[in-house]
Amino acid sequence: MVGVLEIKDLHKSFDATKVINGFSLAVTEMTLQCLVGPNGAGKTTTIDLISGRQKPTSGEITFREENITGLSEHEIARRGIGRKFQVPAVFRELTVRQNLEVAYNRETSAVRNMFSFKPDGCAKRLEEIAADVGLTERLGIKAGTLSHGETQWLEIGMVLMQDPAMLLLDEPVAGMTEHEMDKTVEILNRLKKTNTIIVVEHDMGFVRRIADVVTVMHMGSLLAQGSIADIEKDERVREVYLGTEDDEESVH
């Protein structure tokens, strides 16, 4: 079966350092695929390459049978790929409501947006999503004053406002409380019925609760792929991966 997102023989080097080294991946529609791997395995770089933040040295990325390699960030986003950053990136000077409004990107044309004040459907969707991510009470305040967990929620909310065909989530539960994580699990399990999702995650406990497919990366290439049960049994994975869970990647 052809995946909605296909990565073929991806390479990326910074100066002399090879960060991604012949990585290939196929992501099936309506699945949640977790990208795991030790520090420096190239997980975030892969997300960067898919979302256009960086350009691959060689290789090809296809999304819905369209080659998106080398397109710029906004072009990729417009094709329905939404992204959440490792360090939550929200507009700190804007209110929570404004953050969500900006993310409602049905219309991206600058000229048409000059004459648009209240886009159709925005308010309704905003209410729903704010309720979903538990920020209804906080809509009027500046995003910069939110707690860390709330900021994570807000960014997830922003990705949802985009209504993307595919979500790239870089460590969505970092810094969340147990209770918040439960809620995230709940949302992701609901979302994967309608969306394709890639999650980069360290926390295997979390991965266990959401993943349909787990992909293990090591040294910039694919080490293993399969269900969580398969992966946990894999000797090579144990070798490279265990014990490095709580490290942070230096490049984000």
């Binding site: 960030e73 906004h74 507009f91 991206t108 600058a110």
Partner: protein, 370 residues
């Protein structure tokens, strides 16, 4: 959720109405040709400060070369006015060209025979220039201080060019059209209240347009990219286009200001591209309050008013005072006088709120700027 009165949209519009109503009353109660002319000139400076506020305070694009659009607009208007005083039969070309070795009107001057065409060009040329230059720079992701320096470079280059093209521009001496602008029989005499009304109307128009722009979705996205332009890209917006357009919109306002300035003073020269003048536009906006369109305008009125009426008393120390107050404002009051008003109103509102003692949690701004 509105806590600080400063951020109340209704109140903001009300303040605009009060300010402009006050400006509108002046010619009805005053009959001083000089004062009206002077206030009209301040109105032009107000437009420039407005354009800086839109571009810098709102869009985060510091522009030290706003003289580019201002100067190009002024030249376009001055050329139009100059051609109005020419006659196809008796004096087909401006006098200065004769002694610069031209015996026929250069092609770039031809469109200015027609007043409508000329004024249109005076607005279109600078705007298109901004679109091209801004497009080039923002696409290459030149931003922040670098963009500011680039605008300075272009400004200096244009000044040099207009000096060097002496046969077409009269070089350093500039163009002084000897008669007032005449639009289809409607004479905008710079020493009558008509010119005041025209400038006033254009100031109101551009302020309202700019205000609406900031409140549109376009404005929302520009605010977002001022905050974190990288993040906006991943939401599917082409940041370079947004930046270019907000820059060009501010350029259009500056071009309108240039046109007004040309018919008010009947003079244009490469000094319009003076670096110091472009930076003083930024000073007006900074002192008034860069984040607020209205306060930026007030800043221009205050600083220029002080220069005209207080400056002579102090003569040599005036620039010293201006420099020091600018430093102090940047250091301690980045929001300018408008920011001060925001803080004070915030304190007042909060106090009232505690007295009512109903709400929990700190109120925070909803909209940027007044």
């Amino acid at each position: 959720m509105e806590k600080n009165l400063y951020h109340n949209r209704l109140l903001q519009w009300l303040v605009y109405v009060v300010f402009f109503a006050a400006l509108a009353v002046i010619p009805l109660v005053m009959d001083d040709a000089f004062l009206l002319n002077q206030l009209a000139t301040y109105g032009v400076y107000g437009m420039l400060a407005l354009s800086i506020s839109l571009c810098w305070g709102f869009g985060g694009i510091l522009n030290l070369g706003q003289g580019i659009a201002f100067g190009l607009g002024a030249y376009g208007m001055a050329m139009t006015m100059q051609m109005q005083t020419q006659d196809p039969e008796y004096s087909p070309i401006p006098p200065f060209m004769l002694n610069n070795g031209l015996d026929a009107l250069p092609a770039i001057w031809e469109p200015f025979w027609n007043t409508g065409f000329g004024i249109a060009l005076a607005l279109i040329v600078p705007t298109v220039f901004y679109l091209i230059f801004g497009g080039l720079m923002f696409q290459a992701r030149v931003a922040g201080p670098f963009f500011a320096i680039m605008t300075l470079a272009i400004l200096s280059a244009l000044a040099t060019l207009f000096v060097d093209l002496q046969p077409y521009t009269n070089g350093v001496n500039g163009i002084s059209p000897p008669a007032a602008l005449d639009i289809g029989g409607f004479v905008i005499d710079p020493y009558m209240s008509t010119s005041y009304w025209v400038v006033f109307a254009l100031l109101v128009l551009s302020t309202v347009a700019a205000k609406l722009l900031t409140q549109s979705r376009f404005g929302l996205i520009v605010q977002a990219l001022h905050n974190d332009s990288e993040r906006v890209r991943f939401l599917g917006y082409n940041v370079a286009i947004y930046e270019t357009l907000v820059y060009a919109a501010s350029g259009l306002i500056a071009a309108i200001a240039g046109c007004c300035f040309a018919f008010l003073t009947q003079y244009v020269s490469p000094a319009q591209f003076d670096v110091g003048f472009s930076i003083s536009m930024v000073i007006w906006a900074a002192i008034g309050g860069r984040n607020s369109l209205l306060w930026a305008i007030i800043g221009a009125f205050l600083v220029q008013g002080a220069q005209s009426y207080v400056g002579d008393e102090f003569l040599n120390s005036w620039i010293l005072i201006l420099g020091f107050s600018f430093i102090l404002i940047v250091r301690f009051l980045p929001g300018g006088l408008g920011g001060l008003a925001e803080t004070l109103l915030g304190m007042v509102s909060r106090k009232r709120e505690t007295q009512e003692s109903l709400t929990v949690g700190a109120g925070e701004p909803e909209t940027r700027g007044a």
